[in-house]
Symmetry: C2
Subunit: 333 residues, 2 copies
């Protein structure tokens, strides 16, 4: 059995309260007393029991992180951003995967409550009224991350996906492209893909062009490759805007398979600036979202809620940026 605060107190000849004080630096302790306590702690290799502390103080220094799937795309970078900032503020994270299931997400908020997490960072492909209800019931500080809450009821960190898509289309149009297709899967509203698709459509219409949609039943590489290839062999698009880099790479390889040159014959822009973009030939132009920052900013936001620090806005919008690479430029810088 390992030492408790009581053992330390006895060893140092003081009360538990005093030990607690030096431990948490919660009140001034005479220098000499402090030293005695510290010595006792070292001698007994005492380590405070965070669970007991959590019960007594009602703060666990733990936050819950709910993501659809850490192993998907760049999610891990985002989680890394969260964890790094969490560490700066002495928090730990409990990581849970929801697979995007609303039921599971809701259950998870409940179990996170049971675990007495101090706060929650929540990511989801879509937000329902049930989500909002659950959040309210949970009475927990929550920050949404990369999750669209149209009505802005919950603090959130996002980029403006619609605007980003529009920018990408404008970018292609400025390059003289007109017959541009959007590659993406979700038809459902309120998802990330849908936002991007809408931005695409708006920009196209604004320029009097017809939006075209290459639908991929699954938003993965293989499915997208097949979809794009089959559709491209019928309809000779001049450019693709894909809902993410993985699908953009699929489009690139579809062109490759059909002996079309990129960027001479077809230009391609992806989304998210994942490592994939630099690991293809030609490299992929992409709409960059700072994935790491996404997590880092969300966590920083949460610490503000946790400490009742003031903040400017409930909805932080992170900047996006088009990273031009070889898939839209024969002579990239």
């Amino acid at each position: 059995m390992s030492a408790t605060i009581y053992d330390v107190a006895r060893e140092a000849g003081v009360s538990m309260a005093t030990v607690s004080r030096v431990l948490n630096d919660t009140a001034v302790v005479k220098e000499e007393t402090k030293k005695r306590v510290l010595d006792a702690i070292a001698k007994l290799s005492y380590r405070p029991n965070a669970v007991a502390r959590g019960l007594a103080s009602k703060r666990t220094k733990t936050i819950g992180v709910i993501v659809p799937d850490v192993s998907a795309g760049f999610m891990a970078e985002l989680v890394r951003g969260i964890e790094d900032v969490a560490r700066m503020y002495s928090y730990h994270i409990i990581l849970c995967n929801s697979d995007g299931s609303t039921q599971r997400e809701i259950d998870l908020v409940g179990t996170m409550w049971e675990k007495q997490v101090d706060g929650l960072i929540f990511m989801s492909p879509r937000l329902t009224a049930d989500h909002i209800q659950t959040f309210e019931d949970a009475q927990l500080p929550i920050v949404l991350c990369r999750t669209d809450d149209k009505e802005k009821r919950i603090p959130s960190v996002n980029i403006n996906n619609r605007q980003a898509s529009q920018d990408a289309v404008e970018f292609l149009i400025a390059k003289g492209k007109k017959h541009i297709a959007f590659v993406g899967g979700s038809l459902q509203e309120g998802t990330l893909t849908a936002e991007r698709r809408q931005g695409y459509a708006e920009a196209m219409r604004k320029h009097g062009l017809d939006p075209a949609f290459v639908f991929t039943s699954k938003e993965d590489y293989e499915t997208s490759l097949i979809s794009v290839r089959s559709q491209l062999s019928i309809d000779r698009f001049e450019a693709f805007l894909a809902a993410n880099d993985e699908m953009a790479l699929a489009a690139l390889h579809a062109c490759y398979d059909l002996q079309l040159r990129v960027p001479e014959d077809v230009m391609i822009i992806g989304f998210d600036n994942t490592k994939l973009t630099e690991m293809s030939r030609p490299q992929l132009t992409t709409v960059a979202q700072p994935m790491y920052d996404y997590g880092a900013v969300a966590m920083r936001f949460l610490t503000k809620l946790l400490n009742d620090e003031p903040f400017n806005t409930y909805t932080v919008i992170l900047p996006h940026q088009i990273m031009e690479r070889g898939s839209t430029n024969s002579f990239p810088v």
Copy 2:
């Protein structure tokens, strides 16, 4: 303030003990009493406080996961494997990144102890005597994952990296290649890369061939690309075995840049079977490790330790397998 077990007890007209019993199914409770309790729980939307429970029972149903970096390579898949199995056994995971720093790893074991985790899954590029000491002091069930413990002191899940490398070399030799180079960074012993390099060297010598080493100061794509390209422009290797897929892809693109055909002029084999392998042209032949299974098996192992279930061996070796794709075969299946 939300309901406690005491509130439920009162509402149901029973004692806390009885509520606890139906909650944990730890003793037989009369059917009718149970119903009353369940009703009270529902009525008050009671949820047990896991922290209090943890303090009282000394088991938190939480395990610590220490990885070098979730956002590196396929680490996230492994973590996903852990989390999925953890969930099956009603555990949650606290995820920490160590950046491979021994000091930080050791500190983390300590803070995980403070958090009273029931067990630990530990991944590290190398294991020192300090690690072992820390593990012993911590008195925690620990499973090493993808981490080499030569002396087999701690339960672990691994693949035989040396054998895997040998197999890959044999594979290339069978294809008629002789001038084969290994691409990798670490010169330090006891690391994953070193294991793979040794297997490579052994197989080469066994066939009377000279081992060649393309050193990349960082084991990332960009650095490797430059290293391979510069060395390849001097020395015309017939094949590369890379310590991971990212470096294999770099080798592929180095060939591309030097106008060498893959696989006709140069064959390439990577390691780990990440998504990258299918997202290149040609696709990459690789030594597959089941990353998800890695985590899943490690966590399952840990649950056995946690429940005092019997198990056969302290060191589980997962199978590896060469996945042949276009980078070693012009006509892959």
